[in-house]
Amino acid sequence: MTTSVNNNSGGDQPQGSGNAQLARRRFLQKLGLMGAVAASYTLLEVQAKTAASSDKRWGLFIDTSKCSSGCDACVRGCNEEHGIDAGKDEHTRAQWIRKIDLTDNLTGAESSVPVMCQHCDSAPCVDVCPTGASFKRADGVVLVNKHTCIGCRYCMMACPYKARSFIHENLTDQKPSAPRGKGTVESCTLCVHRIDSDQNQQPACAVSCTDEAHSAIVFGDLNDPDSDISKKLKTVGGSQIRADLSLNTGVRYHGL
């Protein structure tokens, strides 16, 4: 048993951890798992569980001056990431991000913007959900817990941004990282499955935008004054869609 040799002799193991391992091993012995576990024992690291924390507030900064009208790279990136079929009817298929082209009524200036869930701080969809399936994570990401969503669509009635989609039909071939299915509501998750597992990961839309050399979408922690997104907001400024509703959105637009 290689592990016990290591532990007893100390070897190159730092002192304190031997005790911890011993204690854990006793615990395992009690469970009768000893033999099975021993072989791979030394290879294992105690992985710290990192839960979403309210120290952070994830958000997006969208620089409309860098976003171009014909480009839908962010939409394609999102669809690809979550296995969304964009070939279906535009009113019944899922639309986590959409592109909207605008002309200013006064100046005639044209702009183009991606619109997705705005990850409101005081989110109307969260307030109205009868089962609490629509919720805001500690780090500000607004999500649907599809395990408790009953598909009543009240959140869609409440959303000022038309950002949520109801799944109207049976789906097949979902991506392992993006479970989706008929009868529940869904919307942009800020790619939690990516950003949770690796601090350097970006949501798929931001990656696609950068790949297209536009870099119009910046993802980051709004609570961290040194993050790219906070610096951008501080230097160039950003506004909220429907700021009049005072929802304190996590998605901010520059040049709207």
């Binding site: 615990f27 294992l44 569980k49 839960a51 994570r137 789906l171 479970p179 989706r180 299915g181 499955h193």
Partner: protein, 164 residues
């Protein structure tokens, strides 16, 4: 005894045998072996009895708290337990006779998980590393085993399962 009663007595057990083959010759469900790994993410016996509560617990931890890379992830079950067909192509884990289905059909349990969750393993799954570096119960057990104990209630049916 009238002839009719006699006949009925004869036919009834025969009919029962026909409609309930499982009970007539009950050696438990035929569960396909795991494709990867040489042990499960927790003791096999615990997995048999407690996988539902473990999965539910994991589900809430991941979805609500954003905790990832945990052993009781549904994706990982599929990665190890989905079988390959003769051509080496993976088979849906909820297909007839496959890992989750075989046992559940036997126990008359229906799950809807795979209407949303992928029933096929991840393409370039971390199975390779799982195989070598199994995230076995040891590193995670303390908290999870407490969870298991707190859930040790109604799972009477599952106690009897024997793997063939």
């Amino acid at each position: 005894m009238s002839l009719r009663l006699n006949l009925a007595l004869l036919i009834l057990p025969a009919a029962l045998l026909l409609v309930m083959p499982g009970y007539a010759d009950d050696n438990g469900p035929v569960i396909p072996p795991a494709t990867y790994g040489d042990q499960c993410v927790a003791d096999t016996d615990i997995m048999r009895k407690e996988h539902m509560s473990l999965l539910n617990h994991q589900r809430d931890e991941t979805v609500i708290e954003g905790i990832r890379g945990e052993p009781f992830s549904l994706v990982s079950c599929v990665n190890c337990h989905a079988q390959n067909d003769n051509g080496g192509q993976p088979i849906r884990i909820d297909a007839k006779g496959q890992f989750c289905e075989s046992c559940h059909t036997y126990a008359a349990v229906k799950i809807d998980c795979f209407t949303c969750h992928a029933a096929l393993p991840e393409e370039n799954a971390v199975i390779g590393s799982l195989q070598n570096n199994l995230p076995v119960a040891s590193t995670y057990s303390n908290k999870q085993l407490l969870v298991m104990q707190s859930h040790k209630v109604a799972h009477k049916a599952s106690h009897d399962y024997q793997r063939k």
